[in-house]
Symmetry: C2
Subunit: 393 residues, 2 copies
């Protein structure tokens, strides 16, 4: 070899960005179990368990509930490419980068897309969706992002679901940054198709995208007149591998599925309600601490997802300088802004293993230190005291 590569030894990091977030060593241990064949009965049992666990976390009885062999965006594409046939009409709600991505993908699938668009950082107004639906004619689906990873906006879902039902459209939800961190009742809220990613509140390394489809959505796939444009993501075939038939489609990413199974167990051992409460508490403490140092959140109150906390960068503070300082001096990763918020926001992920009191306190202190390096002095004592007040109330 011309160049010698050393052993892989990534340095210390505290992952408080938009994902990946910290992973339990239990998940890494599960991932390093010996590989099984993808048709081995031992592995088929692991698949069944993983589907059962996923149904519990998605709060659904949907049969078609499984992890797609790709990251969250593969799940987004899987939902769109399976549900949309060229020429179908789709309403896509856009209030951030991931809404834009949904629209892009829906268009590539051949959909005629009606956007319901509001500025980045704002929630979608259901009345607006209704207006568009009224004019659009027969719609195949209405899609929305539950927790916008680019802005931290949390979108209430039940009312939008009602509208979808009213217009006989499938209701599609991006739950990448919400699943296992915020309440998400797939069945009770009438969600027809939903996808997520493993590297957010599930606290597993990136690589899989859990998806779930209602029987209505599964029927829409079964009734397609044209082949799904993607072979790799074609659920009419993938469903046969994960279903009773066990027909080989592609070789499943065995060890990633080991990891997901373990991560899901950890979620359910904690309990969904307890987990949602923990995410809410830590986010609340962080927000109070941020506000006490005179900074503001991007998302309006009442529409903030506790998993992804987007902070407006104050005047006179330079984005990259702060993030590099956090990384160099504290080993802490937070995210920068995306799209309209590039250079204007920090995105703090408090998800899964990363959603901890210790991390909140430390990050408030580290942020204060980082800004002080740029001459922007904030009251670190007041900030941390505000966080204490949340924890001790």
């Amino acid at each position: 070899m011309e160049k010698e590569f050393s052993q892989l030894k990534p340095g210390y990091r505290l992952l408080l960005g938009p994902g990946p977030v910290d992973t339990s060593p239990r998940v890494l241990r599960a991932m390093s179990a010996n590989v099984l064949g993808h048709l081995d009965h031992q592995f088929l049992e692991i698949m069944n368990e993983t589907m059962d666990l996923l149904r519990k976390v998605f709060q659904t009885k949907n049969k078609l509930t499984l992890p797609m062999s790709g990251t969250g965006s593969a799940g987004m594409e899987a939902v769109m490419v399976n549900l949309i046939e060229p020429g179908d009409r789709a309403i896509v709600c856009v209030n951030g980068v991931f809404g834009q991505r949904m629209r892009d993908i829906a268009e590539r699938c051949g959909a005629h897309v009606y956007s319901v668009e509001v500025p980045f950082g704002q929630p979608i107004d259901p009345d607006h969706v209704k207006e568009v639906a009224e004019k659009a004619g027969k719609i195949k689906l209405i899609s929305v992002v539950h927790a916008e990873t680019s802005t931290g906006v949390l979108q209430p879902l039940p009312e939008l679901s009602e509208i979808a039902k009213q217009y006989d459209a499938l209701f599609v939800v991006d739950a990448v940054t919400s699943l296992a961190g915020i309440d998400l009742k797939v069945d009770d809220w009438g969600i027809d198709a939903c996808y997520s990613g493993t590297q957010k509140a599930l606290s597993c390394p990136p690589g899989l995208s859990p998806v779930t489809f209602s029987s209505r959505a599964a029927e829409a796939i079964a009734k397609r007149k044209s082949k799904v444009r993607s072979w790799y993501l074609d659920l009419s075939m993938i469903g046969d591998y994960w279903g009773k038939e066990r027909v080989y489609h592609h070789t499943a990413p065995i060890n990633m599925i080991y990891g997901l199974r373990e991560a899901l167990q950890i979620v359910l051992e904690e309990g969904l309600e307890e987990r949602f409460a923990r995410h809410k508490l830590n986010s609340e403490a962080f927000i109070r601490g941020i506000e006490a140092m005179g900074l503001n959140m991007i998302a309006p109150e009442g529409y903030r997802t506790p998993t992804l906390n987007a902070v407006r960068i104050p005047e006179g503070v330079e984005d990259i300088g702060v993030r590099n300082y956090l990384l160099d001096k504290y080993g802490i990763e937070i995210g920068g802004g995306l799209g309209d918020f590039k250079g204007k926001a920090w995105r703090v992920g408090l998800m899964g293993e990363s959603s901890r009191k210790n991390n909140v306190i430390l990050l408030l202190a580290a942020l204060a230190d980082s800004m002080e390096q740029q001459g922007h002095k904030v009251d670190v004592g007041a900030s941390i005291q505000a966080a204490f007040d949340v924890y001790n109330s």
Copy 2:
């Protein structure tokens, strides 16, 4: 939880099927390193190293050489969906299940496909491809499977590459079951686009698909008139993440890339020539042993890939019975036949960590035992002696 799940503890397996195959504990150890952010400079360096290592194993200088975030079939789809625009003409060589899959995917991408088809188990005749190319008019690409995982047929490539050049078509090669097990000279053989999987001769768990594109192929992507139909696999964007620009596309499967980097190092520490020779020797010994017990190979001599050894099941022996016996009594997994060979062939993978003298000797013995259970007595001594003769000559 209604049901208690136990710790994940897959039982012993010796993976001698079509993949996944055995993985070095070094790879599993690398995969369990702490997760890094996908834009962390530490991870960007790991990406650079992985690309460098991949280029060496692909024997190419191609800039656009990277692992796609999906299994081998995602690589197949990535190549087709990026190179083909609706209406393009493509010649697809079909002599097994993976050739059929290529054709299916090319059609879903909107290609007008000309098949060059021969019975399963036979190699493609270059003259046949030339005839079709002569009649087809302007062709975008000619694609072929290097080592057909469904039949074990090894396809010589240089002559087909010549034909592609002659008709100004891109030459596309499926190297899923050949990369790192058989010689594959991407540059010297004029291959324009090539994809593989991690779970074959690279001996890594499944989950990634290494791909490489020549500058000609990259130019064809850059010159597209229409958007790539798949957002997830769109190389015009993915190339910007793996390239100098480092633009976020999707969250890379961090820990799988750790594993691939380690697996590639192991390949290069052994040396490509030494590795190819090892695969050849073990396959040769296995084949002599199989023939000495009166069984036959599917692929004709001179066209056999040493990575995947497909054996014709003798009259009176029942496929599933033998495979279940191997699994239950020896913990050995081999593959069954696919497509035309369902129930008629066993597929023995001798790839990567699984390609070992010990495994060859053991499997010959275990196969003899399994068949004897069904009353099909073979000369196990002669079989093992024939293998010895290969190793000791």
